[in-house]
Amino acid sequence: MSLIHEIDYGTPASKSERQVTLTIDGFAVTVPEGTSIMRAAMALGIKVPKLCAYDMVEAFGSCRLCLVEIEGRAGTPASCTTPVAEGIKVTTQNQRLGRIRRNIMELYISDHPLDCLTCAANGNCELQDMAGAVGLREVRYGYAGENHLGAEKDTSNPYFTFDPTKCIICSRCVRACEEVQGTFALTIDGRGFASHIAAGMDEGFLASECVSCGACVQACPTATLIEKSVIEQGQPEHSVVTTCAYCGVGCSFKAEMKGDQVIRMVPWKDGKANHGHSCVKGRFAWGYANHPDRILKPMVRDKITDPWREVSWDEAIARVASKFKRIQRQYGKGAIGGITSSRCTNEETFLVQKLVRAVFGNNNVDTCARVCHSPTGYGLSRTFGTSAGTQDFDSVEDADVIVVVGANPTDAHPVFASRMKKRLRQGAKLIVIDPRRTDLVRSPHIEAQHHLPLLPGTNVAMLNALAHTIVTEGLTDDAYIRERCDLDAYAAWEAFIRRPENSPETVAGYTRVPAEQIRAAARLYATGGSAAIYYGPGVTEHSQGTTAVMGMAHLAMITGNIGKRGAGVNPLRGQNNVQGSCDMGSFPHELSGYRHLSDAATREMFERDWGVSLDPEPGLRIGNMLDAALDGSYRGIYIQGEDILQSDPDTQHVAAGLAAMECVVVQDLFLNETARYAHVFLPGSTFLEKDGTFINAERRIGMVRKVMQPRSGLADWEITLAIAKAMGFAMHYEHPAQIMDEVARLTPTFAGASYEKLARQSVQWPVNDQAPDGTPIMHVGSFVRGKGNFYITEYVPTDEKTGPRFPLLLTTGRILSQYNVGAQTRRTDNIV
């Protein structure tokens, strides 16, 4: 292990298909048209000195360090802003260029503190590197002239500082904020010698529009913008590439370490989901891992009114096993169950459902997707044949029309939102269907063509009205429908959707969105080119969630927007591994890969592998478990990494159900609210403390790598193993890789997954013999289920009405700095 130094090519890659051949320092090189001379030189391994260029942002040409000579052309053009041309001969190093560069460095250094040895960037400073590269030996201008060395440091942001004395005004931070993040929070204040970087109206980083994504810190070539953790602890010495444990974007990060201490998390440029970008949570809010609230010892108590007593792992596990076994003896096999965690790894989730099915001997297993995206799973599998989004995130780069339904990506999926905003700034059109005026509706340089602010609970009516418009105005892609869809199902649906109750004019009454606005949005979606739908819990966390998901699937099918880049229907999944926890068979009726328990062949495959017989009857869902607890037939539960008392609907019902149980086992990082009703607390481990995989919203299986030992002594998967063993069922795994091997063995869509492959590169399932490198875009050519299917999506108005006693209509949402119930983010500086 060593520190990963990612190559900076200086300027972004050109996407041109035309190739250009030129000569640099006598060597021929062929690169895509539009590539900068600087980047072409890097392709040969020749580094042209540079300061203001950085391959995450467009070239700027301000530092003048990268000047080169081109045979037959006058002057010394900047290699970052000069594109390659056929046959040109470039010289990057000679005496004249060396003299110019050294003089420029002298000017820079004449107004820069000479404190390299005590500077936080020492050892990782591009200015220092360039001084070395150009052979700076003296500064003829002296240091006594007018300078910026007295400028005041801005320490307002909890995670990084801005020290203008070290700033060289290269604008990399300003450009990263604009081009990568899309927030435009930074500017150059003043001009000439007075120029300095300002956040907002020079109001300090914290008060400005800055969202603390860290793009500027990453872009800074000096110690001007630097993490406080690096100032305090020094430069890291090794890096481990891992996957973020916050939202469903699943960004790749380098955990930059000193021994087993995380110094900083830096987004990895090779990460396929994030391409080197991050948000405040993944980049900075990992401090909860070391928070004093972490429980590190197992604890037990006889009654929930007793104080907790710390015990050994052996004692805690033995107690869980004996209590669960006693409950089963006394009340029957089905009296216990478990809940898998969407924060934990696939391997850990797979083990919990295996524990329930193989050891508990029932199917009482469920997961938090029950209250978020289970409608996605069902809706998309019924219509397309797969319980997941259709696209990779990169697909958004080719979208001409983007529809965002019930989702607020700038807060909830910030890194994907930045990519979406980049595409919108390039000219893609935007339709936002959301009761809220989210940032996407209008924020600097982004403006939705149509915002349909419908009344909460009327999604299905709205989607029907959009489809009605497309069908009745003859905007359907008939050739696509004929070739790709089930024509009987389509005909039945078409007859339904044409009915007047689905017209925008009627639906306007429910949604309170004017009919003409609905019609205009429908026309844009159907005729604007490749159209992509992205949606969130604003769709699925409502009654009729599944119907709404089907409604979106219909819209995509009738306009030919499935099975190609730039299109699709995509859930923005909430948690890091909620896709994976569903894929791993966390639902009471499904085995891994969404195969129903009633399928005898699938069941037998598991029975043979596990050496047990499986109950063919689906088990209880979370809600049913709680109901059964109240009627006395359900008495024990194993909850891995979830706080159902805070996150599930009807808190009083949840509390009453938990209180009625005899053995509630909570496994978590912190004593969460649910743990108030627990009899055993098993201290869990963070994503930094174990190996495994997460699956993000684009079905990408990303590696999670252990950077420190589990602080409680056991990783979550080891705890589940210990419970299984204590209950008399030994599972033999030395490493999570073996669990993934078992998943692959038992799950056709994961057949080609292995740690060996994933260590090389993340892949998107299905990954198997037909798609050994995974499947970025699904349903190309034909649907997984064969023909695309249609369902009658009748709108059923909600019976939750406002009135004098309950005058408010509330809806769910996420804010940027916090995550779900806040168990993690509330224990970081994100609370500032």
């Binding site: 929070a185 500017t187 204040d189 001009r191 109206m201 340089h445």
Partner: protein, 157 residues
């Protein structure tokens, strides 16, 4: 006129509204605001940003880039003395020294009585009749010490 009416959000919004349809509306709006109020009030920046769908930082960057945009109210009169090469060669530096002494101000400052703000300008295009100045938007060429001080006294009355 350099001195304007007192800052008002409502009036500011009106001005923004009448100009925001223009192509590249930021500069025309900022000029109009400065014409009305004598300077660009800090509160105007978010209003302009919202109207044009820009960030506060971007609008602030524009304001701070141009010396012509003032971020604080000027005195009743604004005297711009040319400091470019032709005027310098005709004694502008000495003139400037006298003015600063008389007003007891530095560049970009306003005299204690609030009457005159002194600003440098780099070329008014009047090199043929250097040294030159601009008083409240009116250009004056062929200045000498006596004439300039007389102008100042008139302005301070």
């Amino acid at each position: 006129m350099p001195t304007g009416s007192p800052w008002s959000v409502e009036r500011g919004e009106e001005i923004i509204c009448t100009h925001k349809h223009l192509a590249g509306a930021a500069l025309p709006i900022l000029h109009a605001l400065q014409r009305e109020f004598g300077f660009i009030h800090r509160e105007a920046i978010p209003l302009v940003a919202r109207a044009l769908n820009l960030s506060r930082a971007e609008v602030y960057g524009i304001v701070s880039f141009y010396h012509d945009f003032r971020e604080i109210p000027p005195g009743r009169h604004v005297l711009r003395l040319c400091r470019a090469e032709a005027c310098q060669s005709m004694g502008a530096d000495a003139l400037a020294e006298r003015v600063r002494e008389r007003l007891q101000v530095n560049w970009h400052e306003t005299s204690a009585d609030g009457r005159v703000t002194l600003e440098p300008v780099f070329c008014l295009g009047l090199c043929a009749c250097a040294p030159a100045a601009m008083l409240d938007g009116r250009v004056i060429g062929g200045l000498d010490q006596t004439r300039l001080l007389a102008l100042l006294d008139e302005a301070r009355r």
